[in-house]
């Protein structure tokens, strides 16, 4: 009984440690007084200031545009790649998979720096300066491996005779792929897409090195403001971002548990 109580208290303490800073941040975003030592009354003025800030709305636009575009492109390229890799022979497969794991395992800062070298080096030929487009290319690059890694297991589970059956019944290879294989691996594709989307929204380090002056996403904006010290506007921004993540996560979780219950019914 006592050990159970101790365990419970320990767990609560850890959760307090994890959540207290976030709660404090949210509470302070409504604090009238700019000094955070005391409570100066409830206010929404930091939120108002936030919405008036054009720099923030531009950063938000960049973040969302890049997240959507990079997730869509990475999902298409990654799914096609996974289908191809799945059919490869052992040795080419091992080589390609090692290449795929490289950006996942490599320290982010090294990936960011080497991409920056590429963009600056190629500027003479392509005339593309560091900015929105280079940031997008980098995001696609670090997203593709995650899509591949979530689609490949689904392909392994796939019964390949279904595809062959579709061919025997007269479907063209592409039609069979589109109508038979893709629906079967769709959960993996969607997981990959969601993963790519969230990773892109969350990314700071790689964006930081591959963007040019004037183009920033939310993370870069927060960093450049936080470097100068605490600012109530960031509190307000954090609160909004936190709530968005929480809602997204709840939706995803509901979806996943629905998927699981379907899977269980299938087994029965």
């Amino acid at each position: 009984m006592v050990t159970r109580l101790v365990k419970r208290i320990y767990l609560y303490l850890i959760f307090m440690f994890l959540y207290a800073p976030i709660v404090v941040l949210v509470v302070y975003s409504f604090n009238q007084s700019k000094s955070r030592g005391h409570w100066g009354g409830f206010t929404l003025k930091w939120y108002l200031e936030l919405f008036k800030d054009t720099e923030i709305s531009r950063a938000l636009y960049n973040t969302i545009m890049i997240a959507i575009l990079s997730a869509v492109i990475a999902t298409i390229l990654g799914t096609a790649a996974a289908i191809g890799i799945h059919d490869m022979k052992k040795i080419p497969k091992a080589i390609v998979m090692n290449l795929t794991y490289l950006p996942v395992l490599n320290p982010e800062i090294v990936t960011g720096v080497s991409l920056m070298l590429l963009f600056v080096f190629s500027k003479a030929i392509t005339r593309i300066g560091l900015g929105f487009f280079t940031m997008l290319l980098s995001h696609i690059t670090f997203n593709i491996p995650y899509v591949i890694l979530s689609v490949l297991p689904k392909l392994k589970q796939l019964n390949k005779h279904i595809y062959e059956a579709a061919l025997d019944l007269g479907a063209t290879p592409f039609y069979a792929l589109w109508r038979v294989v893709v629906p079967e691996i769709l959960p993996g594709i969607l997981t990959g897409f969601m993963l790519a989307f969230t990773l892109s929204i969350d990314d700071f380090v790689i964006s930081f090195f591959t963007t040019g002056s004037g183009v920033s996403n939310l993370s870069i904006y927060v960093y450049s403001m936080a470097r100068r010290g605490v600012n109530p506007k960031i509190n307000a921004l954090s609160t909004i971002m936190f709530l968005t993540v929480l809602i997204l996560l709840l939706i995803v979780n509901k979806r996943m548990s629905k998927d699981n219950s379907h899977a269980k019914e299938g087994v029965k």
């Binding site: 159970r4 365990k7 320990y10 767990l11 440690f17 994890l18 207290a20 800073p21 976030i22 404090v24 941040l25 955070r36 030592g37 005391h38 990654g78 096609a80 790649a81 996974a82 289908i83 191809g84 890799i85 059919d87 490869m88 080419p92 091992a94 390609v96 998979m97 090692n98 290449l99 794991y101 395992l105 320290p107 800062i109 090294v110 720096v113 080497s114 991409l115 070298l117 590429l118 080096f121 980098s138 696609i140 690059t141 595809y163 062959e164 061919l167 929204i201 700071f204 380090v205 993370s219 927060v222 960093y223 936080a226 470097r227 010290g229 960031i234 954090s238 971002m241 936190f242 993540v245």
Partner: protein
Amino acid sequence: MKRTWYSYPYLVWMVIFIVIPFLLLLFYTFTVNTDKGLMFTLDHIKRLWDPIYLMVLLRSIVLAIICTIICLIIGYPVGLILASREYRSKKVLALLFVIPMWINFLLRTYAWMTLLEKDGLVYTILKFFRVPNPQLLYTDQAVVLGMVYNFLPFMVLPIYSVLTKLDKNIIEAAEDLGANYITILKRVIVPLSLPGVISGITMVFMPAVTTFIISRLLGGGHYILVGNLIEQQFMVVGDWHFGSAISFVLMVVILVSMGIMRKYDNEYEGGAIW
């Protein structure tokens, strides 16, 4: 019916955006601009042996080790408790542990800035208890705290997932054979959970060594870890050759230590590097 060609666009993409940048990094690491044009050199690598830079490297490693140890000490019991079967709600608890991970890394670090700064909440509380002039922000402790806060879930989750897969019959067998809880923990649970511990250590140590955000925000402007050093070389000093050299060394160190760690990881199922 081979469809290997489906992967060709991806392969082209990866060659352009992973292989070529890596070769460029190598190129910058081993060349120097002289009057006679580009020359091969090992000077940039040798420059890292300068005591100033060695200290930076050492400091990064020491702080990362401290952070990893703290995460292990705090995190192992959490994994153990979460995995124990007394809680029917353990899925919810595990989810509660994951949620903070999905919040932007910068915001989590920034949250500690608000708490630790002068006139922040922790400062005010310490003042209330008459702690004389507490300096909280911009210290080693603040950096380690930020690291532990950010990376603790990376330690807990692998341990938790190994422990939930643990065969309960083994523990019962040990109980039947007369072992008390401490013995079971020491002789059965801990040895069997080692793969989780090892991947936890890897997942905490690697990002802790390379971070430059935590050290910049919680350690202040003067604070230099190896991540900050790289950032500085590229963004402030503009010495790309030296910056590349540090990145290259960091990459080699990380990939090699990861390879070594994986050798001890029983759960490992192949496919990755090495």
